[in-house]
C-alpha cells in the first residue's frame, strides 16, 4: 500500500530542548493513524512540521510524495489541518466561514459546497448565525467541515476532542470514521487511549522524542503478555449513565 506520509529521522529542538530526537513512521493511504502521547510529548510539533507550519531541524519528511521543506506548496494542496483550538472566525457566520475557505481554495460554486457540507454536519439551522453564538461541539463540527472543503486527501486532526463533552466527542468520532470510509487519510493526535482504540487502524506511541511502538491495536496488544481471564462485575461508568439519561430525555 502506498504511503501518504513518510518521516525518517525527524528532529526538532526549541532553544536547548530537543523535542523530537529522530522520529520514524509511515502513514498509509486511506487509514486512520493515531499518534498517541502525553502532554508535551511533541505531537503538535510533528503535526506542525507535516502541515508546513514549522521547519524541521533534520531528517526527511514527505507528504503525498512531496518533501515538506522544499515543496510546501504541493503539500498544501493535498492537506487540511484542524488544530487544537477551533480556528474559526467568530464574527462571521458559519456559512460565511465556509464560503471564505471555499473561495480561498479557488473552487467553483463556493456557496453550493458550503451548503452541502453545512447540511452534512447538521449546521444548516445555525448557518446564518455568528459563530460566537455556537457551542463548543458546533464550533468543532464547523472547524472540521471547513477542513473538508475541496476534499483534501489527508486531514490532520490535532487533539480533535480535547475540551469536548462526551456527546460531542462521540459525534467527532463518528465524523472521523465517516471520513475514513470516504477514503480520506486521517492523521490524528490524541492523549486519550480510548480514542486511539476506538478510531485508529494503526497507532504510534510517541515518548521522549521517539516513536517507541507502532502497529495496529492487535499488534500492540501482542507486545504484552497473554491476557488473563478474570471475572469482574461490570459497573456502568459515569459516562454510560450520563449518556443513558441524556438519551432518555431526548427520546421523551
Amino acid at each position: 500500500m502506498e504511503n501518504v506520509i513518510e518521516a525518517k529521522g525527524l528532529r526538532k529542538s526549541f532553544k536547548n530542548t530537543e523535542v523530537l530526537k529522530g522520529v520514524d513512521f509511515e502513514v498509509k493511504r486511506g487509514e486512520i493513524f493515531a499518534l498517541l502521547g502525553s502532554n508535551g510529548a511533541g505531537k503538535t510539533t510533528i503535526v506542525r512540521i507535516l502541515s508546513t507550519l514549522l521547519k524541521k531541524d533534520g531528517g526527511t519528511v514527505t507528504v503525498n510524495g512531496f518533501d515538506v521543506a522544499s515543496k510546501p506548496e504541493n503539500v498544501r494542496h493535498a492537506i487540511s489541518l484542524t488544530g487544537q483550538f477551533a480556528a474559526v472566525d467568530e464574527i462571521l457566520t458559519g456559512r460565511e466561514n465556509m464560503i471564505m475557505i471555499a473561495k480561498l481554495r479557488h473552487l467553483k460554486n463556493p456557496r453550493q459546497i458550503a451548503d452541502d457540507l453545512l447540511n452534512r454536519f447538521r449546521l444548516t439551522d445555525a448557518a446564518n448565525r455568528k459563530v460566537s453564538t455556537y457551542s463548543g461541539g458546533m464550533r468543532r463540527r464547523l472547524d472540521i467541515a471547513m477542513s473538508l472543503i475541496g476534499n483534501p486527501q489527508l486531514i490532520f486532526l490535532d487533539e480533535p476532542t480535547t475540551g469536548l463533552d462526551p456527546e460531542a466527542r462521540m459525534e467527532a468520532w463518528k465524523i472521523v470514521k465517516e471520513l475514513a470510509d470516504c477514503g480520506t487519510t486521517v492523521f490524528l493526535t490524541t492523549q486519550y487511549l480510548e480514542e486511539a482504540e476506538q478510531l485508529a487502524d494503526r497507532i504510534a506511541i510517541l515518548h521522549e522524542g521517539r516513536i517507541i511502538a507502532v502497529g495496529s491495536l492487535a499488534e500492540l496488544k501482542k507486545l504484552f503478555p497473554q491476557a488473563k481471564v478474570e471475572y469482574v462485575e461490570k459497573q456502568p461508568t459515569l459516562e454510560d449513565i450520563f449518556l443513558a439519561i441524556i438519551g432518555k430525555k431526548e427520546a421523551m
Binding site: 507550519l53 521547519k55 474559526v88 460565511e96 471564505m100 475557505i101 479557488h106
Partner: protein, 253 residues
C-alpha cells in the same frame, strides 16, 4: 502560486471589512476622542491660543485627523493579534493561498476604516465652522497624504500585532503615536516652545504632514513641506513593511 494574490486578497479584504461593518462601534470609538479634543481645543482653549489665523478649526483639523488615524490603526494590531492567537493565520498558512494576502487584507481594511473615520470627523468640523477654499486637486492631495500616513502607521501596527504577547501589548504601541501631534505645530505654532522642544517639534514627521495638509486646505503654497512629509510617510512605510513581513514570516516559518 502568487497568481491568486488578488482573488485571495479580495477574500481577506471582504472578511475584515465584514468585521468592521459588524462592529461599527470601533469606528465611533476611534472618532470620539479626536472629536472631543477638537471641541475642547476650539471652545475651551482655542480663544487663548494665538495662531495668527481667524479660524482655529481650520488650524486644528489636520492634527485632529492624524490623531484619529494614529488611534484607528491600533485595531489592525488588535485584529492581527487575534487572528494569530486563534490559529486563523495558521489555518490560512496550511492552505495553498498567496500568504501575503492575509496581511494585505488587514492593511487595506485599515485604510478603508480610517477613511470612514476621517470623513466623520470632517463632517463634525464642518458643523463647527471649518471651511476650505481648496479645489478638487488639493483635496485629492490631502486624501493621498492621509492614505500614505495610514499605510505607514498600519504597517507599524502590523509589527505590533504580530509580535505582541498580549492583547494589551498589541494596542499599547499606539499611545505614543497619538501623543506625537501634541509636540508639533498641530495645536499651536512652534515659535513659543523652548528651543529643545522646538527643534524636536519642527523636525518630527507630524509637523511637516500637518503643515502640508493645512497649506493644501487653505490654498497656500505647500513649499518643501510636502516633500518632507512624503519622505517621512514613504520612509516609515518601507521600514515598517520590511519589519512586519519579517515578523510575519518568522511566525509562519
Amino acid at each position: 502560486m502568487e497568481t491568486h494574490f488578488f482573488s485571495d486578497m479580495g477574500v481577506m479584504l471582504g472578511r475584515s471589512m465584514r468585521h468592521i461593518l459588524r462592529s461599527m462601534d470601533t469606528i465611533f470609538t476611534v472618532c470620539i476622542t479626536p472629536i472631543a479634543m477638537m471641541l475642547l481645543f476650539v471652545y475651551v482653549f482655542g480663544g487663548a491660543i494665538q495662531t495668527g489665523t481667524d479660524n482655529y478649526v481650520n488650524y486644528l483639523l489636520p492634527g485632529i485627523l492624524l490623531i484619529a488615524i494614529a488611534s484607528g490603526i491600533s485595531y489592525t494590531a488588535y485584529r492581527l493579534f487575534l487572528d494569530k492567537q486563534r490559529g486563523i493565520i495558521e489555518r490560512f498558512h496550511t492552505m495553498p493561498i498567496a500568504r501575503s494576502s492575509v496581511l494585505w487584507g488587514h492593511v487595506l481594511t485599515s485604510v478603508v476604516s480610517n477613511l470612514i473615520s476621517v470623513a466623520v470627523i470632517l463632517l463634525v468640523a464642518l458643523v463647527m465652522g471649518f471651511n476650505s477654499s481648496a479645489g478638487i486637486l488639493s483635496w485629492l492631495a490631502v486624501a493621498g497624504i492621509l492614505v500614505l500616513f495610514t499605510l505607514a502607521l498600519t504597517w507599524v501596527a502590523a509589527i505590533a500585532g504580530l509580535s505582541a504577547k498580549t492583547v494589551e501589548g498589541a494596542s499599547a504601541f499606539s499611545y505614543p503615536l497619538i501623543f506625537l501631534p501634541f509636540i508639533s505645530s498641530a495645536f499651536v505654532p512652534t515659535e513659543t516652545m523652548p528651543s529643545a522642544v522646538r527643534v524636536f517639534a519642527e523636525n518630527q514627521p507630524v509637523t511637516s504632514i500637518v503643515e502640508t495638509i493645512r497649506s493644501l486646505l487653505s490654498s497656500q503654497p505647500v513649499g518643501h513641506d510636502i516633500w518632507v512629509a512624503l519622505a517621512w510617510c514613504v520612509g516609515i512605510m518601507i521600514v515598517a513593511y520590511l519589519f512586519a513581513v519579517h515578523a510575519y514570516n518568522r511566525k509562519a516559518a
